[in-house]
Symmetry: C2
Subunit: 405 residues, 2 copies
C-alpha cells in the first residue's frame, strides 16, 4: 500500500482567494447592475510590449523551419538570455554575477516552491508575517512547518517575523536560530522596500550562522528610490548566503507568458556542497527548460527598445499605485507601500477587521481588494490594493472608496 505524503493533509484550504471569489460572486449575482473594479489580485492588465511580441513572432517563424527549429534547449536556459541578464541586471550595476549562476525558469512561483528540494527536512524556516503563501505552503508540504494551528493561523514549527507599522514593516532578526529565511523586497503584500542598511544585518546573520536567505526580488522593477538595492547581491557577502528569485511577470507583463530566473551563486556552499551544482542537478532532472519562443521574448527586454517599453509599462502601474496611495491618504486612511512597489497596504479605519473592511468596500464602493489577514495574522487590520489595474478604473475605484469613507 502506497503511503501518501501526509503533510498535504495538514494544509488548510486555500481560503483567501477562494473566499474572495465566493464573496465577489455572491455580491455580483445579487447586484448584477453594479460594475465591480478589481484591485485585489496581483495580475497585470497591459498587453505584452511590442519588442516582446515581435521577438516571439520571429521565434515562431524559426520554429516553422527545419533550419530554425529548436528542440530541447539547455535546462538552465539559452546563453543569449543568461548572458543578457548577467550583464544588464547585475554586472552593469557593479554586481559580479556570471551567466552560469543564472537559471531561467517558468516562474518565480515554481522556483520559490521547488527550491525546498535542496534542503533537509529538519531546517528551521523563518517567514515574514504577512507573507506570500507559497513560502509557507511549500515548506508545509515538505514537512518543515509542523502542524497548522487554526486558532493562531500559524504553523507550529515556522518562525514568524511580524512586519507591522511598529517596525516600519521591516522584520526583526529572529530571536531563535533559523536556517532558511524568506525575504521579499519590495514586499508582497506590504509594499515596503528595504534599504542596503536594512538588508545588511540579514546577510551578516546568514553568513555568521550558516543560514540561507531566499530572497524574492519579483518586484525589483518598481524601485525608484535611490539607495534601495535592486538585488540582494548589492549587499557585500550575499553571494555566500543568498539565492535570489526574479521574474518578468510584473516587469513586462509575463504573468501568462511564464519566464523568470533564479540566481544561485557558485560561492554559496553548505556542508561542502555547492548549491549552484545542486540546483543545476535539480533542474536538469526535473525540468526541461523554458520554451524557445518565450526565451526569445524575454531576451527582447534587454534590447534598447525592449528596456524602454518595459520601463513605460512599469511606469503605468507605478502611477496607478501612486493614485491609490495618495487618494486613500487624502481620504484619511493610513497607507504604506506604493512607492517602490505596485502594492499599497492600507490600515482599515476605526480598528475594523480586514474582512469587514473588504465587505464594506465590496458592497458600498464596488471595489474588490484583498484582506490583509489572508496573508497571515499580522495582516489583520489591513487591506492590499494593487496598481496593476487599468488607469481609468483605478482612478474611479479610489474615488468610490473616498466617497464611502
Amino acid at each position: 500500500m502506497v503511503q501518501i505524503n501526509s503533510n498535504f493533509q495538514k494544509l488548510p484550504g486555500s481560503y483567501l482567494f477562494s473566499e474572495i471569489a465566493r464573496r465577489v460572486a455572491a455580491y455580483a449575482q445579487a447586484n448584477p447592475d453594479r460594475a465591480l473594479i478589481k484591485l485585489g489580485i496581483g495580475d497585470v492588465t497591459l498587453p505584452l510590449p511590442a519588442a516582446v511580441t515581435a521577438a516571439m513572432h520571429a521565434a515562431v517563424d524559426e520554429m516553422a523551419t527545419a533550419q530554425g527549429f529548436h528542440g530541447y534547449g539547455p535546462e538552465q536556459g539559452y546563453s543569449f538570455l543568461r548572458d543578457a541578464i548577467a550583464q544588464q541586471d547585475y554586472q552593469d550595476r557593479g554586481v559580479n554575477i556570471q551567466p552560469d549562476e543564472i537559471f531561467i525558469s517558468d516562474g518565480a512561483k515554481s522556483d520559490c516552491g521547488n527550491i525546498v528540494d535542496l534542503f533537509g527536512p529538519d531546517n528551521k524556516v523563518a517567514v515574514c508575517d504577512p507573507v506570500y503563501p507559497v513560502y509557507v505552503d511549500t515548506n508545509a508540504m515538505s514537512g518543515r512547518a509542523g502542524e497548522y494551528d487554526e486558532k493562531s493561523g500559524r504553523w507550529t514549527n515556522l518562525v514568524y517575523m511580524p512586519c507591522v507599522a511598529e517596525n516600519d514593516f521591516m522584520p526583526d532578526l529572529p530571536g531563535e536560530e533559523v536556517d532558511m529565511i524568506y525575504l521579499c523586497f519590495p514586499n508582497n503584500p506590504t509594499g515596503a522596500a528595504a534599504t542596503k542598511e536594512q538588508l545588511k544585518p540579514w546577510v551578516d546573520y546568514a553568513n555568521r550562522t550558516g543560514a540561507v536567505l531566499l530572497f524574492d526580488g519579483a518586484y525589483e522593477a518598481f524601485i525608484t528610490t535611490p539607495g534601495v538595492p535592486h538585488s540582494i547581491y548589492e549587499i557585500p557577502g550575499a553571494e555566500t548566503c543568498a539565492i535570489e528569485f526574479r521574474s518578468f511577470s510584473k516587469t513586462a507583463g509575463f504573468t501568462g507568458t511564464r519566464c523568470a530566473y533564479t540566481v544561485v551563486p557558485k560561492a554559496l556552499t553548505r556542508q561542502g556542497a555547492s548549491l549552484n551544482a545542486m540546483w543545476n542537478r535539480r533542474q536538469c532532472t526535473k525540468f526541461n527548460g523554458v520554451p524557445y519562443v518565450v526565451q526569445r521574448g524575454a531576451a527582447a527586454l534587454y534590447t534598447p527598445e525592449g528596456r524602454q517599453q518595459a520601463k513605460d509599462h512599469v511606469a503605468v502601474y507605478q502611477n496607478n499605485a501612486r493614485v491609490i496611495r495618495e487618494g486613500l491618504a487624502n481620504a484619511g486612511l493610513t497607507v504604506s507601500g506604493g512607492v517602490d512597489s505596485p502594492y499599497v497596504w492600507a490600515r482599515t479605519p476605526n480598528g475594523m477587521g480586514s474582512w469587514e473592511f473588504f465587505d464594506l468596500l465590496l458592497r458600498q464602493a464596488n471595489v474588490v481588494t484583498t484582506p490583509g489577514a489572508g496573508f497571515g495574522p499580522s495582516g489583520e487590520g489591513y487591506i492590499r490594493l494593487t496598481g496593476f489595474g487599468e488607469t481609468e478604473a483605478t482612478r474611479q475605484a479610489v474615488e468610490r472608496i473616498r466617497n464611502v469613507l
Copy 2:
C-alpha cells in the same frame, strides 16, 4: 546552519550523456573531416506543424492587445485544451476521463519528477531496468532509493525489474511488495510496446495491494499495432490505481516548446485522500500554468488539420525507425522495438559491451548511438538508436553501420 538535502550527494554524476558528449567531441576534434550522424539523442528534428505555428502567431497577436491579453491562467491549464484532450485522447477511444482529471504542464519530465511530492518517504519504488533515468534520480533525491552501489550500478532500496530478451522486454511482477511502480510503454529505451493483456496484471496488482502505477505514455503516438492500448485507462480498473503522463514533445515536435499533460483520475484515492486533489494542490502551489501562446499551439493539434499534420510528422519518424530496424536486422543484428516506438534496441554483436560497440560505430561508421548500459545494468549488451533524425541521414547511417559489421 542550514542542512542541505544530503540525498543529492549520493547521486552519481550524470555519466551517460556527458560521457557520450566527451567521446564524440574527442573523436570529432581528432577527425574534423568526418561528418558524424547522430542517432543517439531522443530529440526531434522536424519543424513545428503549420497548424501549431499559425495558432501561436494568432495567440502572440492577442497578447499584444489589451482585449486579447492573457495574464495568469488556470494552473491546471485552459479549458479549451483540457476539454479537447478529454474528448479526443480519451472519450473518443471509449475511456471516461474528464477535463478536471487532466493537468496541463510544461513537460512529462517535470511531471514525472514532481509527482514524487505526493508520496511519503518510505514507499518501495519499482522501476524497469533499463529505464529512463528521471524516475530513479528523482526518487534518489527524495530519499526513497537508498544508497548507490557503484559495482552493481543499482540503488540499494529500489526494486529493479529486468526487461531483457528472455522476457520479451516485459517486466515480471516484482517478487516483493512494492508501492510505486513506474511503467513506460511504448518503452524508452527498449521500444517494446505492451498489449492490454500484458498491462492487466499490473493494474490488478496495484488495485489488490494499494500500489500506484506511474504510467509514462510519452510515445503513445507511435503505436500502430491493433490491440496495443494508447492509454493505461483502456485497462479496466486503472482509474483507481494509475497516473498517466503524456506529452506533445514527440507527437508534434514540442521538445523546445514545452507542453504535456498528466492524468490523475478522481477515482484514485489512498488513505482516504484524493490524489487528484493532492496534485491539484501541488500544481496550484508550485506551478503557475503553461504559457497561453503554447497552450493555443497545443490546442491546434486537436483541429482536423493539426491532427493530420501531427500524424504526418510521426509517420516520418516511424519510417526512420523502420529503416533502422530493417537495415540492422538485414545486417545480422538482433533488433527489437522500432514498430510502435521511435526507438530501436539492438543487441551488440559477438557479446561486445555497450560502450565498446558505441566506440566502434563512432569510429568506424561515424554514427553516434546510445550505449544501453547507460539506462541500467540490464541495458548492457545493447545500443539504442532513434528514428528522430533526418530521413536521408538515417538511411546513410544504417548503410554505414552495415558496412562495418
